[in-house]
């Protein structure tokens, strides 16, 4: 039965969605600190789920020629080149006759490239300034004009460099707006606590696309329906591992019961901090966050927005009761006005 936290707050989603004696909630933990950017996850996903290609375009976003999560890319590997220290590693270009860094400039060029992903809205062009900051590092947030040294955007020579890679995927939120706004019940909560689009039901109303706070779900053009990661519903139902996690060579993508993954992740962050990687942080692991925690969460080495993730997403349906209340008041006002208009006055 619906829980008190049905719309917001910590919640075990499967029982709330009417699953009696549901199995433990399953999810992904994606540890970007061991990602080698091989894109096996993208390919394995497409092979298993028969996802079409998303265009043959060189995007110039480092080695990212996919661009974003779309209806035709359910896993997306982000690549970020930054002239920044990479934790414990000694500066790669120390002592080399280098000039200023180009990462910000190249990123700005990549920001405006286009790709026909075969989906809608697919991959809209970006803002060069924001791209430059992504490539230079997030320190500038809220401090316009500041140009701390060593960020390679000045004239000094670059010595530090790091190449961030991260395999993004649907977050399978505890409070999934896409699911709640779906008018057909096509998007539904599985017994594993995951969020799945039922392709035999979806009629392409597009509501889920505007509702997703992560910009994950997307519409396939020639098909009209919405598509996204199913966390391989068919595979996990058969006790198998999702295709991407099974393929991942370095265990960057880990699949398992969410509780276990959260503990593993916490241990990993501590280990990294001890090894002098203070920038390591978890994202989407916290059941008390705006979406009640993600079923697919991440270990990041920079702020979420650098990876194209919202820094502090809140599920829109948190405010739904207030919205209905406002609508009710408006409706009453409307009715009252009508009555008054006819009752009052003579002519």
């Amino acid at each position: 039965m619906p829980d008190a936290n049905s719309l917001y707050g910590p919640l075990d989603p499967a029982p709330d969605a009417g699953w009696v004696s549901a199995p433990p909630r399953m999810g992904f933990f994606t540890d970007t600190s061991v990602c080698i950017g091989c894109k096996a996850c993208e390919v394995a996903c497409k092979e298993w789920n028969g996802v079409p290609d998303s265009g043959f375009d060189l995007l110039g976003m480092s080695y990212d020629n996919t661009g974003a999560l779309t209806a035709n890319s359910w896993r997306h590997v982000a690549f970020i080149e930054q002239p920044r220290p990479a934790g414990h590693r000694t500066p790669p270009f120390a002592g080399d006759p280098t000039g200023p860094a180009t990462s910000p400039a190249s990123a700005t060029a990549g920001a405006v490239t286009a790709a026909d992903t075969g989906t809608n809205p697919g991959l809209p062009p970006g803002q060069p300034e924001a791209a430059a900051l992504m490539a230079a590092g997030p320190e500038f947030l809220g401090m316009p004009g500041a140009r701390p040294p060593g960020r390679g955007t000045g004239a000094e020579s670059r010595t530090d460099f790091r190449w961030l890679m991260m395999s993004d995927v649907c977050k399978h939120c505890t409070h999934a707006a896409c699911l709640d706004v779906c008018p057909t019940g096509s998007l539904f909560r599985t017994e594993f606590g995951t969020v799945v689009v039922q392709e035999d039901i979806c009629n392409g109303c597009g509501y889920c696309i505007s509702a997703c706070p992560y910009g994950v779900i997307d519409q396939r053009k020639d098909d009209g329906r919405a598509w996204k990661c199913t966390l391989c519903y068919d595979r996990i139902g058969a006790g198998m591992t999702p295709a991407c996690a099974q393929a991942c060579p370095t265990e960057s993508i880990q699949y398992g019961p969410l509780d276990e993954l959260r503990e593993r992740a916490a241990r990993r962050v501590t280990a990294l901090h001890e090894r002098g990687v203070p920038e390591a942080r978890l994202y989407g692991h916290d059941p008390t966050d705006g979406v009640g925690g993600d079923g697919a969460f991440f270990l990041l080495l920079d702020s979420p927005e650098v990876y194209g993730l919202p820094p502090d997403p809140v599920v829109t349906t948190r405010d739904l009761p207030k919205m209905w209340k406002r609508a009710g008041l408006a409706a009453l006002a409307m009715a009252a006005a009508a009555v008054a208009a006819f009752a009052g006055g003579s002519s």
Partner: protein
């Protein structure tokens, strides 16, 4: 490694988790660098200088694993007083013959063994790539050589090594490689600190290392370090070659190579091996230690497998049928012969030289001058369509209506449509089960060659020609099955394994081989893969059900040993060097060798065993001679023979370099294989003039998303979309200097070709300060061509043909070029642009590439400042852009 072998890289990550420090040396910052603890950018083609620096660091600081070195290597051996080092001869060793560009090895021998040398400086061994034979065994040396266990003798290997590498100082490493001293020292320190009794370090290279004019010596330098540090034959140590094709190891063991026969038996040479006995003795070297002593049995058994009943001891097992080498018959020689019209027919079997081989233009023009070409592949590849849409069609060099080559394209079966074994990069054979039937006309090579042989034999039936006997007497009766009469791969594997002729009993191990015709063995090192009539390569015991060595998964040659020379993981007395690193050891109670792996040693030969006088072959191996395939049972820090370009590695500049060799007067490898052919013009290097016309260094390699020549990746949407276009990676500094825009176009020019690519300006590349100059390097993927879903110019077109002398592998990992903004010209004007560069670089058809360096006056100056010069050069070239 993360780039080209991601799944193998999982083990590096495991090691990292356990605290291992990972160093990555590469001209460009790759996905591997991103995960490494330390990344060292290096100038392409200078690895020997870097590794030599490490050797010096070890020796100068006495950091070698002395007990190991004394017991298991030839460090104490004393070398002939006739030997002169590169130190004395400014980059040449003693015995150099300028006329043939090769060495007489006599002076390299151990003291008093000078007469023993088999190599006499005729260049013959180079032409027959004899170095390849040593994939599994060393050059002949006498069992016993004079030694000085104190390592003090001035002519002992240890002291020679010390002198030879004395000039490879950190300063010199910085001057040559562009690696700052402190960065180099970080590497040297970590490597030595993590080697020895308690710890081992591993050296992993991808086979781009072999694609240099001194490729073999790169690996030699690595093995010298690993041997000095005691990292050979021990767990967590060794040198691991990451090879790039599913069964490239297998195709070397069972060679489709001109100079080898299965099991590294040499292909007979017309002059050296007129008779069976001379041939066999040249392999087993009577009186020498080690298992090659039995090679008469291996050779006889191979011929028996080839010619069956016709092969008898009386007729030397049909040795007379064997074709003979007269010189270099390698793939590049073949291509030049094609251009000259000397080759009639060409088979391409899952290979795409139009994209994958150096000097693509030569490859395509060669194919355009054949009578007939047979291409067997999964997809329509560039090498099958060169006559239709190759770059030369655009330039008018190939006109379809005038190209006489008759082309047969035969579709091939994929890896799931046939059964058989692959041998992966660690010598492990794995059997593949067949899943489905091949579509349409697609057939396996097994089918094609079996039936081709059948048809040939039918057509020749009754022929009285002597030359046809070898075909008619060939043992060619393999059981077939299915509607297409597919031959049985398992039957062939059984023949490879070898069997007792009388009973047909499969052999269990190569020691069962006989030289009396009673055994037939297709490839002696594979004996045991079909032991007891069981396909050992098909074993798939799950990893959780066995220990970490996983000896019951597949089968590794020889004799299912997973780590070669693992006797060295125990000390001379047979005790593990350390508890942490125990692997194989002597069990005194059981009186046999035991451990996690199959001991790479005679099972019951105790450590204390000493051979009797005059013993030879395996019997001559002492109980503490771990390197059982070597002529003296020892690991060689110094190679008295077998390596054609010197007993010790020496840094030579690449055949095409913008730099003068800072170490020696000799610029490039004096024994490298050069082809003087009008189509094969090499860019000038200092001290020759005009090297500044090609001021930039370029290197090529793989992307994770593509495979070699692209035939298996540009044809697959899943992969094509991930790297959809040919591009070139340049540093911001070079971009600023030349004027390149991120995502704009650039074209690169060498003395052979012009190619264009989209530009990625990235901080992952850096200029290097080398010998007081700034050197810019660019990187390109070599996967692109004109066929497939995504197309682009082929990077390999830029390379010329210069080969390593030992194995005749081309230098295709480093070259010089010019790079300019914008797209390349098309049509005939493209040839004009190349011609213009050739003119300005003085690359006339009659120009002779200097083998031995003679300092041309002003050469150094000419090489001084590339920047202005090339800028000037560009003005000349302007009209063509």
């Amino acid at each position: 490694m993360a780039e080209a072998h991601p799944v193998g890289f999982q083990w590096v990550m495991e090691a990292k988790k356990r605290g291992a420090k990972v160093f990555h040396v590469d001209p460009r910052f790759t996905r591997t660098s991103a995960l490494a603890d330390t990344y060292l950018p290096i100038r392409a083609g200078t690895d020997i200088a870097l590794l030599g620096g490490v050797v010096r660091y070890i020796l100068e600081n006495q950091l070698d694993f002395r007990e190991y070195v004394l017991a298991y290597t030839n460090a104490a051996n004393i070398v002939s007083e006739q030997f002169a080092d590169t130190e004395d001869l400014d980059g040449l060793f003693s015995g150099y013959n300028p006329d043939t560009g090769s060495y007489d090895h006599a002076s390299w021998q151990y003291d008093g063994q000078e007469g023993n040398a088999t190599v006499r400086g005729t260049g013959k061994e180079r032409d027959s790539a004899s170095g390849l034979e040593h994939e599994s065994h060393g050059e002949p040396v006498p069992a016993r050589a004079p030694r000085d266990e104190t390592l003090q003798h001035p002519r002992c290997v240890y002291q020679i090594l010390k002198r030879h590498f004395s000039r490879y100082t950190p300063e010199m490493v910085a001057r040559v490689c562009g690696i700052p001293e402190e960065r180099f020292l970080e590497l040297a320190r970590a490597w030595t600190e993590n080697s020895g009794r308690e710890r081992t370090g591993a050296l992993v290279y991808s086979v781009g290392w072999t694609q240099h004019s001194v490729g073999v010596q790169y690996i030699r330098t690595g093995s010298i370090i690993q041997t000095l540090l005691g990292n050979m034959g021990r767990p967590g140590g060794g040198i691991l070659a990451l090879r790039g094709h599913a069964s490239i190891q297998g195709s070397t063991d069972i060679p489709t190579l001109f100079n080898l026969l299965p099991g590294y038996l040499p292909m007979p040479h017309h002059a050296d091996h007129p008779t069976f006995d001379e041939w066999v003795d040249s392999i087993r070297h009577p009186g020498q230690k080690g298992f090659w002593g039995d090679s008469r049995a291996f050779a006889a058994s191979l011929l028996k497998a080839y010619w069956g009943d016709a092969a008898t001891p009386e007729n030397d097992f049909c040795y007379g049928y064997m074709p003979r080498m007269t010189g270099d018959h390698g793939t590049y020689q073949q291509v030049l012969n094609m251009i000259d019209g000397r080759v009639k027919g060409y088979f391409l079997l899952g290979q795409n030289p139009a994209v994958g081989s150096a000097h693509g233009r030569a490859q395509r023009l060669g194919m355009a001058n054949l009578d007939w070409l047979v291409v067997r592949d999964l997809f329509m590849i560039e090498s099958a369509t060169f006559w239709k849409n190759g770059p030369e069609v655009a330039t008018g060099e190939i006109v379809p209506e005038e190209c006489r080559t008759e082309v047969f394209f035969l579709p091939a079966a994929s890896h799931v449509e046939k059964e058989g074994t692959f041998t992966q990069t660690q010598r492990l054979l794995q059997w593949r089960e067949k899943a489905v039937d091949a579509p349409g006309d697609a057939r396996s090579e097994l089918w094609f060659f079996y039936h081709l042989g059948r048809v040939l034999r039918e057509k020749l039936a009754g022929s009285t020609q002597r030359r046809d006997r070898a075909l008619l007497d060939l043992a060619w009766d393999y059981p077939t099955h299915g509607p297409h009469a597919e031959p049985s791969a398992e039957a062939v594997l059984k023949e490879i394994n070898g069997y007792e002729v009388a009973t047909g009993r499969p052999l269990g191990v190569f020691t069962e081989a006989r030289d009396d015709g009673s055994t037939a063995i297709g490839c002696w090192i594979y004996s045991g893969v079909y032991a007891d009539g069981v396909n050992q390569a098909a074993r798939r015991r799950p990893r959780h059900e066995q220990d970490w060595v996983a000896a019951e998964w597949g089968w590794a040659w020889p004799a299912n040993r997973r780590t070669l020379y693992n006797r060295a993981s125990a000390d001379p007395d047979g005790r593990p060097w350390s508890e942490r690193k125990k692997y194989v050891w002597w069990d005194p109670d059981a009186g046999e060798w035991t451990g996690y792996d199959v001991p790479d040693f005679e099972k019951t030969k105790p450590p204390s065993y000493r051979p009797p006088e005059g013993a030879s072959g395996p019997a001559a191996l002492a109980g503490d001679d771990p390197f059982i395939m070597q002529g003296d049972g020892k690991a060689w820090l110094y190679a008295p023979g077998g390596v054609l370009d010197g007993p010790l590695p020496t840094h030579y500049e690449p055949a095409e370099s913008p730099m003068r060799n800072p170490l020696y007067g000799q610029q490039a490898n004096p024994t490298r294989k050069i082809y003087e052919h009008p189509i094969n013009r090499m860019n000038p290097s200092p001290p020759e003039p005009h090297s500044q016309v090609f001021p930039y260094v370029f290197t090529v390699s793989r992307l994770t998303e593509h495979h070699t020549a692209g035939g298996m990746s540009r044809t697959v949407p899943r992969l094509a979309e991930l790297q959809p276009e040919m591009f070139v990676e340049v540093s911001p500094e070079l971009a600023g200097e030349v004027g390149l825009a991120h995502l704009g176009w650039a074209h690169l020019i060498s003395g052979r070709a012009v190619i264009e690519a989209r530009v990625l300006v990235t901080d992952r590349l850096t200029p290097l300060r080398v010998d007081g100059r700034i050197i810019h390097q660019v990187w390109l993927p070599y996967h692109f061509g004109t066929e497939g879903l995504v197309t682009g110019d082929s990077a390999n077109d830029l390379f010329g043909i210069t080969l390593d002398p030992n194995v005749l592998i081309q230098e295709s990992k480093v070259g010089t070029c010019d790079i300019r903004p914008g797209r390349r010209p098309t049509g005939p004007s493209l040839l004009d642009l190349v011609g213009d560069y050739q003119r300005r670089a003085g690359m006339t058809p009659d120009r002779k590439v200097p083998v031995v360096t003679t300092d041309a006056a002003g050469g150094d100056d000419a090489a001084g400042s590339t920047d202005e010069q090339s800028a000037a050069a560009h003005q000349d070239g302007e009209p063509h852009a």
